[in-house]
Symmetry: C2
Subunit: 657 residues, 2 copies
């Protein structure tokens, strides 16, 4: 059977290549003792956080496992735990590599931009390759071993659970540490960012790893597993066994394309870092597009064209989504500059313009997603939408790689700052860090669009599966149950985002208290004669963010059970779509708006409109502070929120009326 | 026929009583020359604005009339123009009375709180009574004269057109004048609010009238006409002729209840102004509940209970909606205080908390509306929802009266300030003004919930009407056309709100320029030796806000035509519901969030957390500035947006495929 080659060959190549990179990284120089010491503090903090997060999730997973056992039997439990374990493993290894590579990137920067970029990207690509390889491996192995496609829903549920906790916990951690540390450090005490005298500085550096590396990894692992599962289920329903193999094969060759594409990440003559990364992305997309052709022809010898075009549409939407997000969040375009300009008349006008830009930034992505849905549906029916969604995820490996590049370079910059490296080294780490900010924004837009598509395909599967259990089920838009479902579903992302925003505020408050306490009680911190106790600060954020994460993470599960069992299958259908609609808009407006605020501040800091320290800059800092929980906590956590709700709904189909 | 008594008797009573109040107001003392002079400047500005607004709308109306003539014939044109004319008339007369009563309220304040309250409320109630009386008169007269219920859609369209322009134009005007005047006056030059030296001060006072009096009047006129039309159409489809008479009769007796209720507005021993107003509201609701009973029994002698309970549910939801909005926006509860507390750590945290409160504030209203839909549907089917929606509007007369009370007392306070009235007079006008702010917030929550319900009933009518033109039309949630429709529809309120927010920013910018110019060029303004040129500032806001209003006002009409004609009836169905869902959430979060920011500032100004002038207060002012366009421009303009889209869709039903 060719299908094994299509899947397992790329998976093995990706894993072997990751292992090779890990060994290669081990041999790289980690800099002087000071640098190693800081990196090790970050590593300890990040590991401690992730361990505790997984412990918390393990308790929830245990309870869910028991419920799954009684409802669906041990196979479902096994699927659930495998999905959770594979996702956690990808996040764990990936983050471990990331936190071991920050000081090495700083050290490499001494040799120049090219070697620092190469090292940081290679380290980031371990997470990227592991996410896609382990996700495909988990799904395909489970299917081939059990022959049961329904159990994949449980597997996806496991991945979703990790994702919703990782996104929330990591998101609260990273922004609470960031905002809390800055409030006392930058604003109250007037010491610069990443200053070693600030007791919260290690927590802040840890935050980037647990948020953007582990969080994003879990997020895309979930979207990948969920989309694959949905495509397989829908494929089997509409086409049969070929409908199962085709998405698996697409996923396989796309992983191969990502690995090859990663070799194209190289600085050009202009030394443009962003272009170097984009070159890798474009290469992997082109290779995917080429490889998809024989694959499609192999599975659909007669009717390959509509499926192939559906896949191409997915690739095209992926590219356009990146371009649109870039337009709304990069310094050189109108939206960010309009926020910067609005900052000249004060804090209030900065916020008004940022909110307006955030809301506006939803429009083009929605047109794009709508076009994707309609075009791929015209071409190849509902299954065409699934193919298109799967093709969109071809780039997932590269995207996660580019995203994980962000925290590594951010940390490298922090280490350079804290160890007082020479100007030219800091310039290199700063320029890498700046690009890391852009890639983080761009990948979020992509992640949301993918999650939206995945949810949509899941929903179609939900409606199909229901027909076996509920007779004559219809989701008519004018049905009061559907309408009420839509209303209630749309409310979930709002209340969820509200809680997440408040959680950041609360947790940041506890950081502020601790940093103030250390400044007060440990004499000599400010003079540099005494060392702050970084560990206590790390500990406090860890505990607080894990505590704050639990309630909102349970919302989607509890809400789906409540609506499904109390109001029935019809209302639940409306509920799922309602949450998708409001979720996608909130998520895009928050992540793009937040990134635009961030870059408006950076635009001013680059010397425009009065530059650093001016009143305009102060107004822009306000926007950035608001944008932080928007773009890094509430916004991205909406992806797993809407996905996990659809997964749970699919799981409980047989109990619905 | 009894139906004539039920309708025309209350209408005549309401109009006669309004005329009586107008004459009574004429006889009231207008204060000294200075007060009269300022009031007359406000009056001229407000009239000039409204005249120009109507002229602009007239051009659009003419174009639409021509289109209507060719598509549906002259009766449709007549209906359209009647609806527009009646709405404009109610707004025009109401605002005229309001701007003639501001100085009289200041003068009455010299005699004490009771007489000032009585005068301001009476003046406001003219708008309230005229809105409901003219709306019911227009709809019922048109129906009885033509016997054609379909033509009521055109009539509603006319009312919608006025509403969308009035809400947008008035909303941009009032906030641009407010923000622009404050930015130069309070922030740059350090002179107090309503200082006669500020060239923008009259424009600011005009703004309250064109926004909250004329704008809200048009908004509720539309919701009233639209709900009545939808109930009539649905009633005829499901029940027959009784289904037409019943909502008309309910509307009639509710007007009577409002007129009687208005006599209950009286200060108690505790001199609590809010309670005085609420007494009137509660009285009119109780009278409505009592009168509904015989009416329901008359029309449904056997099966009156389900219909009566549906009506009671509408009344109950109305009351609960007011209470919930009050909770989220009043100083004494947790949400506002949490924003105030968050202001202690800066501008950014104030905004984060305000956004979180705004998002949270959508939850209970949505639960409430969902419960209303399901309960009234269980009781009396789809028509039950319409009855419940109609009952909710029983209070419309009182609500508009209480809302119009706001700008009158605001202006009275401004006049007292500008003419340097003694402390005790200013205390009275200030306390009235403070209550006016609360009533404005509360009525917005009510207006949105009503608009949501009205839209829902309209949508049901849309799906029913379509069956005559499109065979086997079904709005299945899993249909890609419906999904894409939902996505695109949900995008409209986002892009609309974004444009509205930016429009306020732009228009405020032109006010800032003009005020700065006058300060610079007219020597002696600051010393009080020269008078600023208020007229030029008024003129500039008028022109700018009317210019900015046109594009967003055309969005709903163009979007419905584009989606309906290009993607068809199914996608349009999704589109309507999509806009309803995202619209209702955005509108509630914006109006409640904005009012909460406003009152958090007032809470601090009352001496809490550092009081006026502290850094905490400055952070709260930022929140208030952001809240202004949120709660007074973008948020409330979403009501007519979603209604007019449904009306246009209903109108073009026969051209759809």
């Amino acid at each position: 059977m060719n299908i094994y080659y299509f899947i397992f060959l790329p998976v093995i190549i990706a894993i072997l290549y990751s292992v090779y990179i890990i060994f290669w990284l081990k041999k790289q120089h980690g800099g002087d003792e000071k640098m190693k010491e800081i990196s090790s503090a970050i590593r300890l903090g990040a590991k401690a956080y992730l361990n505790r997060q997984y412990k918390t999730v393990a308790v929830v997973a245990l309870i869910i496992s028991i419920a799954l056992y009684f409802a669906f039997g041990w196979l479902s439990v096994l699927g659930f735990l495998s999905g959770a374990f594979a996702s956690a493993l990808a996040g764990y290894i990936g983050m471990n590599i990331a936190v071991r590579s920050n000081n090495k990137t700083t050290e490499a920067a001494k040799k120049g931009l090219a070697s620092a970029l190469s090292l940081a990207f290679k380290a980031g690509s371990v997470t990227g390759f592991l996410v896609v390889a382990l996700a495909l491996l988990a799904v395909s192995l489970f299917y081939f071993l059990t022959g049961d496609i329904k159990v994949l829903i449980s597997l996806s549920f496991g991945a979703s659970l990790i994702s919703v906790f990782a996104r929330l916990g990591g998101g609260i951690y990273t922004k609470a540490a960031d905002v809390g540390t800055d409030l006392v450090g930058k604003v109250e005490s007037g010491i610069p960012e990443d200053d070693p005298r600030n007791p919260g500085v290690i927590a802040d550096l840890v935050g980037d790893n647990v948020g953007d590396c582990a969080g994003m990894a879990a997020d895309l692992f979930e979207t990948y597993a969920v989309t694959l599962t949905a495509a397989i289920l829908l494929g089997f329903l509409t086409i049969g066994i070929t409908g199962i193999y085709f998405p698996l094969a697409l996923a396989g060759v796309a992983i191969l394309a990502s690995v090859i594409g990663s070799f194209f990440v190289k600085l050009g003559k202009k030394q443009n870092i962003m272009n170097a990364l984009y070159k890798g992305l474009v290469a992997s997309l082109i290779i995917s597009a080429v490889l998809f052709y024989p694959i499609t022809k192999f599975y659909f010898p007669e009717t390959y064209l509509p499926f192939y075009f559906s896949a191409l549409i997915g690739l095209a939407v992926m590219v356009l989504m990146v371009l649109i997000t870039d337009y709304y969040t990069a310094k050189k375009f109108r939206p960010v500059q309009s926020i910067a300009k609005a900052s000249t008349s004060g804090h209030g006008t900065n916020i008004i313009m940022g909110l307006a830009v955030g809301m506006e930034s939803t429009f083009l992505p929605i047109i794009l997603i709508s076009a994707e849905v309609l075009l791929s549906f015209w071409l190849a029916g509902l299954y065409g939408i699934a193919v298109s969604a799967m093709a969109m995820l071809s780039a997932a490996g590269m995207i996660v790689a580019i995203d994980s590049f962000g925290p590594i370079t951010d940390n490298a910059g922090g280490i350079a700052e804290m160890t007082k490296q020479p100007e030219e080294v800091r310039e290199i780490t700063d320029s890498l860090d700046a690009v890391g900010n852009t890639t983080k924004a761009v990948t979020k837009g992509y992640a949301i669009a993918s999650a939206g598509l995945a949810t949509l395909v899941l929903f179609v599967v939900y409606t199909e599966e229901l027909t076996a259990f509920v007779k004559n089920i219809e989701f008519k838009l004018q049905d009061p149950y559907v309408i009420v479902g839509l209303f209630l579903g749309a409310a979930i992302p709002f209340i969820f985002a509200s809680i997440a925003m408040k959680a950041v505020g609360k947790t940041a408050g506890s950081v502020v208290k601790e940093v103030r306490r250390q400044f007060r009680e440990i004499k000599g911190i400010m003079e540099g004669t005494a060392k702050p106790d970084y560990g206590v600060a790390v500990d406090i954020v860890t505990k607080a963010s894990l505590k704050e994460m639990i309630l909102p993470a349970l919302i989607p599960i509890v809400a789906v059970l409540a609506v499904g069992l109390l109001l029935g299958a019809k209302a639940l259908g409306g509920f799922l779509i309602g949450s998708l609609i409001s979720g996608i808009f909130l998520a895009i407006s928050m992540t793009s708006g937040g990134a635009a605020w961030d870059n408006a501040k950076k635009y001013i800091e680059a010397g425009n409109l009065g530059g650093k320290g001016s009143d305009t800059h102060k107004a822009a800092v306000t926007g950035d502070t608001v944008g932080d929980p928007y773009k890094d906590t509430a916004g991205p956590a909406i992806n797993p929120l809407i996905e996990v709700m659809n997964i749970v709904a699919l799981l409980i189909v047989k109990f619905l009326k």
